[in-house]
């Protein structure tokens, strides 16, 4: 029997926390070429005797044992190739290897210099040749925008202790603000989806719709784990928040919220996502439910916050997709203290109810929007490919036209009225809008939209943006 080499294809994109792999993109395993005899490969029984990994430096071997163990179960050659391919993808998703190549060879060892004593006639050796990532990678960018320039320095240490831990540090020094973040990620060996993240950060934000600026310095720990078909995240976060007025003309209601608060909160998120893609899904649904309890582990802020997100997609005729989404949430202050402007919900803008100014719906004081304690928002979208499909198969596939109908409401709840009164409050004075536009996909995470919107149901105090509205972001209604 001749030598069988099975080499892998060009490196595929990594699967893991940063990017998603679509089942559509998976490339079929190529059939190996057989040099001397024509044999029906499916019927030939093989036994995988050895699986090796070569090229390890600082990575500990016990971590990798879990990823490659399934290759031993293969019973015939096609199976070996399929399982090796899957093992290769698993190794790549750890985020510690630049490249992984698979070499399948017979146990007779004609490639190696000697014959092994225990080699079976139908035995195979599978070798993964890996190239580890460098110990330290850095990046340096400058960013200019919004009357501010800043310099961003990023440092990443993949695989710090040998078991796929990752340490990242990002520092941004700007003309107005400075922010930084340090993050440590550790997966459980053998179970990459179960992982722990520790974060330390300082971020500053400016919110011109409320004339507010906020500086957060905080620490958080997060535990992710899958359970049956759902994904859960448990997180504890301790944040020192400093609020201030953005301008001297800020309203007194915002001025009253200035100062320091400490929030120590436990939160839990459950999500089920069986869409085929995060941007432009063709089918599937997403359900995400999040709750946050603050105040019982220290701190000044004391509340219970619930919010959920639901999205359902269905394919229709002619490549068009109908998508419906629903968001909602509610904030209950505990212990008699009023809620803080930094915890409340906001509504409106190109990423939620289109046709209205950014976060410019709901309770406001002298032009500054204060947010609300309960909200709901819904959207119905019809996505179609561009008319006449220019650039089909290439650039044109990144665009879609969409027709939308958005609605929502945001208000404060004066507790003691009972849930029926609260629901009634949310149902009256609904703001809604409709329109059409073009959407562009950016990578796998973000999208740009250019829409023509017609807002309706506008209440006094809301700021609208009728006509053309541009939006960019990650999460859209």
């Amino acid at each position: 029997m001749g030598t069988v080499h099975a080499r892998s294809m060009d490196p595929l994109p990594m699967h893991g926390r940063d990017m998603g792999v679509h089942p559509d993109d998976m490339i079929e395993v190529q059939e190996a070429e057989h040099e001397t005899k024509q044999e029906v490969l499916e019927n030939k029984d093989v036994v995988v005797q050895h699986v090796n990994i070569e090229g390890l430096g600082r990575t500990k071997e016990d971590l990798l044992g879990y990823e490659i163990s399934e290759v031993f179960d293969a019973k015939n050659l096609i199976d070996v190739m399929k399982k090796s391919h899957i093992a290769r993808q698993k190794l790549l998703r750890l985020g510690i290897f630049k490249e992984v190549e698979v070499v399948i060879d017979t146990s007779d060892g004609t490639v190696c210099a000697h014959k092994r004593a225990d080699a079976l006639p139908n035995g195979l050796d599978v070798t993964f040749e890996v190239t580890e990532m460098k110990r330290l990678t850095g990046s340096y960018n400058t960013m200019v925008g919004n009357n501010e320039g800043s310099m961003v320095l990023g440092v990443k240490l993949p695989n710090v202790f040998g078991r796929a831990e990752k340490l990242t540090f990002q520092f941004s020094y700007g003309t107005k603000e400075t922010s930084y973040g340090l993050s440590f990620f550790k997966p459980q060996p053998g179970n990459f989806e179960r992982n722990l993240t520790l974060n330390l950060y300082k971020v500053t934000g400016q919110f011109p719709w409320s004339s507010l600026k906020e500086t957060d310095r905080g620490v958080s720990t997060e535990l992710n784990f899958p359970l049956w078909r759902t994904n859960h995240t448990l997180k504890w976060e301790g944040v020192w928040r400093e609020l201030g007025c953005l301008a001297r003309s800020a309203s007194f209601a915002v001025r009253e919220e200035s100062g320091h608060t400490l929030k120590s909160a436990l939160s839990h998120t459950m999500s089920i996502d069986n869409r085929n893609s995060a941007i432009f899904p063709k089918k599937g649904a997403l359900l995400r439910i999040n709750q946050e309890l603050a105040g019982y582990t220290g701190g000044d802020a004391s509340f219970l916050k619930e919010d959920f997100e639901l999205q359902v997609n269905r394919r229709l005729v002619w490549d068009s997709v109908l998508s419906a989404s629903l968001w909602g949430g509610c904030l209950l202050p505990i212990g008699g203290r009023p809620s803080s402007i930094a915890d409340r919900f906001y509504l409106g803008g190109p990423t939620s109810v289109r046709g209205f100014g950014m976060y410019s719906i709901g309770p406001q004081s002298e032009g500054d929007y204060l947010g609300g304690e309960a909200y709901w928002a819904g959207g119905l979208h019809l996505y179609t490919p561009l008319p006449f499909r220019p650039g089909r198969g290439g650039f044109g596939d990144l665009f879609r036209t969409h027709f939308f109908l958005n609605a929502g409401n945001l208000c404060n709840l004066n507790y003691g009225e009972g849930p029926r009164a609260h629901l009634q409050r949310l149902a009256e004075c609904v703001r809604w809008s409709y329109g059409a536009g073009i959407v562009l996909r950016l990578g796998n995470i973000a999208r740009l939209e250019l829409n023509y919107c017609i807002p309706m149901g506008v209440q006094s105090g809301d700021r609208i943006c009728d006509g053309v509205q541009f939006g960019a972001g990650i999460r859209f209604l």
Binding site: L243, E256, G259, H260
Partner: protein, 260 residues
């Protein structure tokens, strides 16, 4: 806002009369307020009473951060927010209430000089760290207390007080009181018959030092040794703060202990 815009806004504000619901904000009386802030707040309250302008007093733990300049006290009048005695005096002048109209230029300059003296000497005579921390929870109280202490120390360095020992501080306070006592003489107020903002400022500081429970009695004793200053404080307390206590309960004033 640019200077021109600010001037325009204050001109518009000048046209409105003093509202009923004007409010003065200061830090919490019990745990939070520093001696200097207490003195400033009392000075502003005395001044407004002397002008016969009603004001509510509201204590907030974040008063310092609410203030547009970062200093307390500040008043919220209509939709204007003004902080510190100097700008408040200007603001009330724009509305037509002033106490120093009768002074000529020489006297006005003298008044400003004495106010600066009081600000420099008495204002930084006392710092107290534990008092700042209580409204916040751990560890925020420690962090903010250190921040405040560092700030005050920096300010002391800037005016050259950093190296002074306690005796030197007392000596400076004593000299300041002597200057004030000499200027006051036997008159009821610093500029003869009518009280001015200087009277309000001196009253605020001296009264706070005399009635505070925190510090040692040394400072209080130094002031008590000047009998005309003591009489001055009593007189102002009687004329402007006593009557409201007996009268309407809708106006609150935060003074705490009395000299009597």
């Amino acid at each position: 806002m640019s200077l021109a815009a600010e001037a325009f806004v204050s001109q518009i504000a000048a046209a409105e009369p003093w509202p009923e619901n004007a409010t003065l904000y200061q830090p919490l009386r019990e745990d939070q307020i520093l001696l200097s802030d207490c003195a400033s707040s009392l000075a502003v309250q005395a001044y407004l009473r002397m002008c016969n302008l009603p004001v509510h007093v509201s204590c907030r733990s974040n008063a310092e951060y609410m203030s547009p300049s970062g200093k307390v006290p500040f008043v919220h009048v209509g939709n204007q927010v003004v902080s510190e005695l100097g700008p408040i005096v200007q603001f009330t002048k724009a509305k037509g209430h002033s106490l120093s109209d009768g002074l000529d230029d020489v006297q006005r300059a003298e008044m400003k000089a004495y106010m600066e003296l009081v600000n420099n000497m008495l204002l930084t005579a006392e710092i107290s760290r534990p008092r700042y921390s209580s409204p916040y929870s751990w560890p925020l109280n420690q962090i903010l207390a250190y921040q405040k202490q560092w700030e005050v120390r920096r300010k002391m360095n800037a005016i050259g007080w950093a190296g002074k020992s306690l005796e030197q501080v007392y000596e400076d306070v004593s000299q300041c009181c002597q200057a004030l006592s000499q200027r006051l003489g036997t008159q009821p107020y610093f500029f003869n018959k009518q009280p001015t903002e200087l009277d309000a400022l001196v009253f605020g500081h001296l009264f706070t030092i005399l009635t505070t429970r925190l510090t040692s009695d040394e400072l209080g004793e130094k002031i008590k040794s000047y009998s005309n200053l003591l009489a001055f404080c009593r007189r102002i307390e009687q004329s402007y703060f006593e009557d409201s206590q007996a009268g309407s309960s809708s106006r609150g004033y935060s003074k705490g202990p009395s000299l009597f």
